[in-house]
C-alpha cells in the first residue's frame, strides 16, 4: 500500500523491542526474584499473548468472540496433562489411580499440543457458531466456553482431567532457571523465557496480520458483503482466524498454567474473558502494540501500583477514608469505564509502534480510512 514508507521507524521499533528483552534479562540477574516487578512481567507476558490473540478476532476480523477463557482452559489442561512428571502422577491423580496418561513430553511440544487442542476445539465449535452474527456469536462462544468448563470438570473424564481437582507439579517458569552444580541458580531465565514465548507467538500473529490473509481479514471486518463480492471466501477466512486465535489462546493458557503453577477448571470463568476483552479495548481494538502495552499496564495496575488503595494510609494524623480491601478494584473499574466511555480508541487506536515513530505520519494519511 505504502511502498515508499521509510524503513527507519521499523528498525527503531525492533531496536526498542530488543532493548526491552535485554533489559528484562539484566534486571532478572540483579533484582531479587521476590520483587513485584517479575510477577507483573510474567503475568503481563501471558496476558499480552492472550490479548493479542483475542484482538486478532475482535479487532482484525470483526468476529466478536467471547470464548477465550474456554480455549485457554483447554490449553492449560493439555499442557498439565502432558507434562506432569510420571513419578508425581500418583499424588496428583490420587482419586483416579494415577490417571490414564503415563508419559510426558518436553515443554515446548506440550505447548504446541495445547495450541493444537485449542485449535481443534475451535474448529469444531466454529462449524455451527461462525455462521452467526455479532452478538449472537458473542453469546454462543461464551456458552461454549461454559460447556468446555463443564466437560473438563466431569467425573467421567476424571482419569484424564482429574475431574474438579487441580492439576499441579508440572514444570513452571521457575524451572527455566539454569542451576549450577551446587543447586543454586546461576542464570535467571524465569522471566525472559515467557517473554520469548509470548514474543515469538505475537510475531507470528503480526506476520499473519500483514500477509494476504490478514488483509482479507481486515476487509471482512470493514464490510462483509463487500469483501465477499471481492472474492474473499468468508467462511474459510473466518474459520482460519478463529482457529489461529484459539491456537494462541491455547498456548497462552499453557503459559498461564506455568505462571499459576496450578490449573483448575473453575477459575476459567467468563469473568476472565471479560478481563481480556477490557485489556484489548484499553489498548485499542485493532492494535497489537496497544494490546501488549495495556496487558502490562492492566496487570501492573491491578497487582502492583494500585495495591496501596487496599491498605490503610495515614498522612500525618489524617486517615484517608474508604481505603480497604477491594477499593483498588473499584478505582480500577471506574478507570476502565472512563476509557470505555470517553476514550473509545484506547491507548493506541489502530496504530502500531512504527506508526508512532514515523514523524511524517500525518502527511501520509492512513490508507483504509
Amino acid at each position: 500500500m505504502n511502498q515508499k514508507k521509510s524503513k527507519k521507524p521499523m528498525i527503531i521499533s525492533l531496536c526498542l523491542i530488543a532493548a526491552v528483552y535485554i533489559g528484562v534479562f539484566i534486571a532478572e540477574q540483579f533484582i531479587p526474584q521476590q520483587s513485584m516487578l517479575f510477577i507483573v512481567l510474567k503475568k503481563g507476558a501471558v496476558y499480552a499473548l492472550v490479548a493479542v490473540s483475542m484482538n486478532l478476532l475482535n479487532g482484525f476480523t470483526g468476529i466478536f468472540s467471547l470464548g477465550q477463557a474456554g480455549f485457554m482452559l483447554v490449553g492449560a489442561y493439555v499442557y498439565g496433562i502432558f507434562t506432569i512428571p510420571v513419578a508425581e502422577r500418583m499424588n496428583v491423580y490420587q482419586y483416579f489411580d494415577g490417571g490414564l496418561v503415563q508419559f510426558t513430553v518436553p515443554v515446548i511440544i506440550a505447548m504446541i499440543f495445547s495450541g493444537l487442542a485449542a485449535a481443534l476445539f475451535a474448529f469444531l465449535i466454529g462449524l455451527p457458531v461462525l455462521r452467526l452474527k455479532s452478538d449472537y456469536l458473542a453469546i454462543a462462544t461464551l456458552g461454549f466456553a461454559e460447556i468446555i468448563r463443564a466437560i473438563f470438570q466431569w467425573n467421567g473424564l476424571g482419569r484424564i482431567t482429574n475431574s474438579s481437582n487441580m492439576l499441579n507439579m508440572f514444570p513452571t517458569f521457575n524451572d527455566f532457571n539454569i542451576l549450577g552444580p551446587d543447586g543454586k541458580v546461576t542464570v535467571y531465565l524465569s522471566t525472559l523465557i515467557p517473554f520469548i514465548m509470548a514474543g515469538v507467538c505475537i510475531l507470528l500473529i503480526v506476520l499473519l496480520i500483514n500477509s494476504t490473509y490478514g488483509r482479507a481479514l481486515k476487509a471482512i471486518r470493514d464490510d462483509e458483503v463487500a469483501a465477499e463480492a471481492m472474492g474473499i471466501n468468508l467462511a474459510h477466512h473466518k474459520r482460519l482466524a478463529f482457529c489461529v486465535s484459539s491456537f494462541f489462546a491455547g498456548v497462552g493458557g499453557a503459559m498461564l498454567a506455568m505462571y499459576q503453577t496450578t490449573v483448575q477448571a473453575k477459575s476459567f470463568t467468563s469473568a476472565m474473558t471479560y478481563e481480556i476483552l477490557l485489556i484489548v479495548v484499553i489498548g485499542g481494538i485493532g492494535s497489537v502494540t496497544g494490546s501488549v502495552l495495556s496487558s502490562f499496564l492492566f496487570v501492573a495496575c491491578s497487582e502492583w501500583w494500585l495495591r496501596f488503595l487496599d491498605e490503610k494510609q495515614i498522612i500525618g494524623n489524617f486517615e484517608v477514608p474508604l481505603l480497604r480491601i477491594g477499593f483498588r478494584m473499584v478505582v480500577f473499574s471506574v478507570i476502565i469505564m472512563i476509557v470505555v466511555l470517553f476514550f473509545r480508541k484506547g491507548i493506541m487506536g489502530d496504530k502500531e509502534l512504527p506508526d508512532l515513530l514515523s514523524r511524517s505520519r500525518k502527511a501520509k494519511g492512513r490508507a483504509g480510512k
Binding site: 458473542a138 460447556i147 469505564m337 466511555l341
Partner: protein, 307 residues
C-alpha cells in the same frame, strides 16, 4: 416414579419463573436497543445485596421491600443514563463492551462493600415458610413464584398493548429512527424499558435468593446468562417467548440436576454418573442448538439484514 421427579419439577418451575423475570429485562432491552445488557444479571445481584443491608438496618418489612425495589429501579435507570446513553450513536460492539464494563464495575463495587464474603440473605416471613405438597417439602416461595410471574407478565403485556408508553415502546422496537421522527422521546422510552426491567429483576431477586440463601458478587452472573439464553430461546424481543423459554430452561436444568437420582431410583443405572455437572452446560447447548436451527427463537420475528 412421579414422587421422584416431582420435587425437581417443582423447583424447576420455581427457578424458571425467577429466570423469566430476569429474561424479560433482557428481551425488552434487546428489542429496543439491540444490546445484550450484560449488566442485567448484576443488577439482579445488587438488588439482593441491597436487601441484605436494608434488612440489617432494622426497618419494618413493608418499607424494606418497596425501598429495595425503588433503589434497584434507580440503579437500572442510572446505568442506562451513565453507560449506554453516551454511546447511542456508537457501533453496537462499543455498547456491548460498555455493558461488560458495567458488569465488572458492579461486581467490584459489591466485592468492596461486602469484603468478598458470602452474605446471608434475610428471611422474608411467610414466603420462607416450608409447606408440604404431595411428596415434596418446599418453601412457599416455590409455589408463589409461577403465579406471581404470570400476574406480572399479564400486567406487563397490558401495559405494552394498552398504554401510550407501551405503544411508544412497540414503535421504537420496530424502527428506531422513524419513531424518533414521529415525535417519540426515545430517551424516555429507553429509560422506561430499563426501569421495568430492573423492577422485575428486583422482584426476581427476592424470590430467587429466598431459595438460595447466600449472596456474593458473582451470584448474578450465571442466572443472568441463563435468563439471556431463555430470552434467545423464546425469540428475543418477545415477552411471552422469554417467559416460556425461561420455564423450559428452569425445568430442564433441575431435571438434569436430579437425573442421577431419578435414573438410579428407576434402576436404569447402578452408580451415579455425575451428570449434575452438566446442568449449566445444557442450557448453553440448548442455546447453540436453537441459534443454529432457528435463530429467531420460538416466537421471534425473522429479521433480515439489508446491505
Amino acid at each position: 416414579m412421579w414422587d421422584t421427579i416431582f420435587p425437581y419439577l417443582l423447583s424447576g418451575i420455581s427457578v424458571g419463573g425467577q429466570y423469566a423475570l430476569i429474561a424479560i429485562g433482557y428481551t425488552m432491552v434487546y428489542g429496543i436497543l439491540r444490546l445484550i445488557n450484560f449488566a442485567h444479571g448484576d443488577v439482579f445481584m445488587v438488588s439482593a445485596i441491597i436487601m441484605v443491608y436494608i434488612m440489617a438496618s432494622g426497618l419494618p418489612m413493608w418499607i424494606c421491600i418497596p425501598l429495595v425495589l425503588l433503589i434497584t429501579v434507580a440503579i437500572g435507570f442510572l446505568i442506562e443514563r451513565a453507560a449506554y446513553k453516551p454511546l447511542r450513536s456508537a457501533p453496537r460492539m462499543s455498547v456491548m463492551i460498555s455493558a461488560i464494563g458495567v458488569s465488572y464495575t458492579l461486581q467490584n463495587l459489591v466485592l468492596y462493600i461486602t469484603g468478598g464474603l458470602n452474605k446471608q440473605y434475610p428471611t422474608i416471613p411467610w414466603i420462607s415458610d416450608t409447606m408440604q405438597i404431595g411428596a415434596a417439602k418446599t418453601k412457599i416461595v416455590t409455589v408463589v413464584t409461577p403465579f406471581l410471574v404470570i400476574l406480572l407478565v399479564v400486567a406487563l403485556v397490558l401495559l405494552i398493548n394498552r398504554t401510550k408508553i407501551g405503544m411508544a415502546m412497540r414503535a421504537v422496537s420496530k424502527d428506531f429512527e422513524t419513531s424518533q421522527l414521529m415525535g417519540i422521546k426515545i430517551n424516555n422510552v429507553i429509560s422506561a424499558t430499563f426501569i421495568i426491567g430492573s423492577f422485575l429483576a428486583g422482584v426476581g431477586s427476592i424470590l430467587f435468593f429466598t431459595n438460595y440463601p447466600t449472596v456474593i458478587q458473582t451470584s448474578g452472573a450465571m442466572p443472568g446468562l441463563k435468563a439471556f439464553v431463555a430470552a434467545v430461546f423464546g425469540g428475543i424481543g418477545s415477552i411471552p417467548g422469554a417467559v416460556i423459554g425461561a420455564f423450559i430452561i428452569g425445568i430442564m436444568e433441575n431435571i438434569i440436576k436430579g437425573l442421577d437420582v431419578i435414573l438410579f431410583k428407576l434402576g436404569v443405572i447402578q452408580a451415579p454418573l455425575g451428570l449434575a455437572t452438566f446442568s449449566d452446560a445444557f442450557t448453553f447447548a440448548l442455546l447453540i442448538v436453537i441459534l443454529v436451527v432457528k435463530p429467531s427463537g420460538l416466537f421471534g420475528e425473522k429479521v433480515t439484514d439489508k446491505v
